[in-house]
Amino acid sequence: MNKPLNKMAVQATINGESTAFLCSPGQVLAEVLRDELDLIGTKIGCNTGDCGACSVLLEGRLVCSCLVLAAEVEGKSVQTVEGVADGGELHPVQQKLLEHGGLQCGICTPGVVIAAKALLEHNPDPTEEQARYWLAGNLCRCTGYDKIIRAVLDAAKTMREEAA
């Protein structure tokens, strides 16, 4: 006899699209995004909420998706890195990271994109120090953060100019 699989059906809005998936009660959102929905842009660096590579926006709020149970997103909206560009047009944070060389291996980049986007929605004119503290939850081992911070502040400037 087959063992019961004990899966839950969850419905949520993922990157603007109504989406349904099955998950185990103990499964975290990061795992479901990657393994069930093939949204592999969300990276798992630690599974303990320390590295920020799995950052997503849950109801617009920055969270580590390895610390959120998949079942918790029932009826809620989730935005991953795949949902940041508007069709073919990159978000200014993405564009500026490219222009400044603000990535090397790129494994932290999706989390940085999500976190920086959240920062600029929250504070359109951050100081260098504010950007550094906001991004302190996103570990990058390659860049020393220099070009990331420059890219984020440049993206903020671009967005302010576009809004003006």
């Binding site: 990159l90 090397q104 390659c142």
Partner: protein
Amino acid sequence: MNAYQEFKIIGSRPVRPDGLDKVTGRARYGADLNMQGQLYGHVVRSPHAHAVIQSIDCSKALAIEGVLAVMTGDDLVKPGNEMLGSGEGAMALKDVVPMVMSQGKVLFHSQAVAAVAATTPALAAEAAKAIEVTYQVLPAVTDIHAALADGAPILHNDRFPDGYPEEPTNLATHISLTVGDPDAAFEKAEVVIEQTYSVPMCHQGYIEPHACVARVDAAGRVDLWCCTQGHFTVRQFTAAVAGIDLGKIKVTASEIGGGFGGKTTVYLEPLAVVLSKKAGRPVKMVMDRGDVFRATGPAPGAQTRVKLGATREGKLLAAEVDCLMDSGAYNGNPAGIPAFMATACYKLTDARSTGRSVYTNKPKIHAYRAPSIPQVTLGVELAMTELAAELGMDPIEFRLKNAVEEGDANMMGAPYHRIGLRECLEVARNHAHYKSAVAEGAGRGVAMGYWINAGMQSSATINVSSDGHVAVLTGSPDIGGSRASMALMAAEVLGIPFDHVHPQVVATDSVGHTDVTGGSRTTLATGQAVIQAAESCVAEMCRRAAAQWGVEPGVVAWSQGAAHYGEHTLTFEELAERAGGMGGPLTFSSSLTATSTSPGFAVHICDAEVDKETGRTTITRYTTIQDAGKAIHPDYVEGQMQGGAVQGIGWALNEEYLYNADGVLENPGFLDYRIPVASDLPYIDTVIVEIPNPLHPFGVKGVGEVPIVPPMPAIAEAVYQSTGVRFRDLPLNPPKIVAGLAGG
């Protein structure tokens, strides 16, 4: 003299070709590929740091529905004295196999002892718990000094270092080198200092854990996908460890989420292959973060004694360096580099350097950015600064007086050709940072660093499409923007736009053998293969144009992306479009063992302020100056300089492996093993010095590793200048600073 004196596109900063996939989340890393019908592997790890395995019973695990395969170390080859790889990646098979899985004896906590494959990750984890292993636990030793003390637990009773009697010891290697007569030179010295310095074991700290997926088909052919700095190395090591014909293995390198030397070997790959072979289905394995810290190769901790002698005028006369390094449980060969390269920055005709390494019950150490050099350089550079202070000399003036230049010989006896150390020192001396006043309460330190820069084997293939675009195929995993550099170099030679060049890292069956992305060699060596392949393309296009015009090929010139002779012109696009009628498809390959290497040098200036109450050190200003030879894509040269400096800052201030008395790592996660975060740091200013490497067509030297070498001594000096208390044992974390300031 370099073949190319002027550049059109080299040195510009185009957006990297792989960037779009990385900012949008499409790039696939080690854990991002799934194969149809795959199983999930899980590793059983030792709860003891030193033990004899008495039995392993997998029967209960195999009985679980959905568990399709189990394995132990008996399923891997029994190593003899075979050597694997070359250059920086060279290792004995007997030191590689046990880092994949133990065979009979466990020598460090969390060493793999068995593995299982099942239909879900959760089931595999459950099955791993059902594997019963019994151990005879032995006392463990994790400290290098305790390991050499009388009565220490012996890790290997069958290994004896060269030149020692065949008695059990934990001494792994002992290498000593002398040039001239250092003892006589010390006699002549007017000022002599001698101090001892230490650096802790630390980890490369790449954010992407090791991951792979393997499929072995019924004919025994292996398709392996993994994150690695060298998929040809993975193929060779996996073949040797799993006992499979190398030619039957195809390895595809995924995008790689950091490595810094740590991904130049195999851990999970042979296990996934063996499990897949047994189960008849693909097997995916992803390492847990804790196991990355506990069971992959960290960088060795080391203690270095440095004795220096100089004249009153500041001429260095003699040096003696004795570096004792942790090898971990097997031989990671960390001691040769200190012996050969400890004093590489200094003119010294009389010097002795010794490197020893010691077995301890910790994972075997592995390469980390300029392997072994940062550890010994903390001692050598800080001692030089202490000596300069004793002489009343400015630390940069002292170094300028004693720095190596063209024609000087290093400890290996080879004379340097055109190097850029003096130029870096002069830039440092004249830099606004160095000329600025040090802030009240802060301190400033300066240090320099050396890395040999590797050459090794590389290959490249260029395929020209009928529309004049080209694919540039290499076997060098792109860890920090190297595809952008390859595209720039191809575009430069061919004279076509950067965005007509499409660089790719291809699998082991699609390009010639290529050694690891490591040793700061990729832009130099793989770049040279790309340049040569592109030059072959240009030569062939000139031949075809000459044939078309009925002239000798020698009279046809190539410029601006076209062949020219008198009034005649055929562009790259035209020759590409007409290839079929002019001699066939245009495809060019080049392979080489690079002999164009030239060492890298850097000078760092660090301002730091220590909070005397909390002991916290804040880096307030940091400048890196480095000779790149030629910066192909300056953004990614600066990126290496900044990233390496920050890794050095982390090692200087905070990073440290902490073991308890039972040999269990107490901080195996990013919360407790704290690497620098954005709010810890200032901007890292960079100055790229370009003294072209005369042996390389584009003047490239390699830049990746030197940046981690100067930070520790520069920061330690800045802390001394800020506090007035001399710290010689790293890391300079708040508890140590507070205790030091209190006189303890």
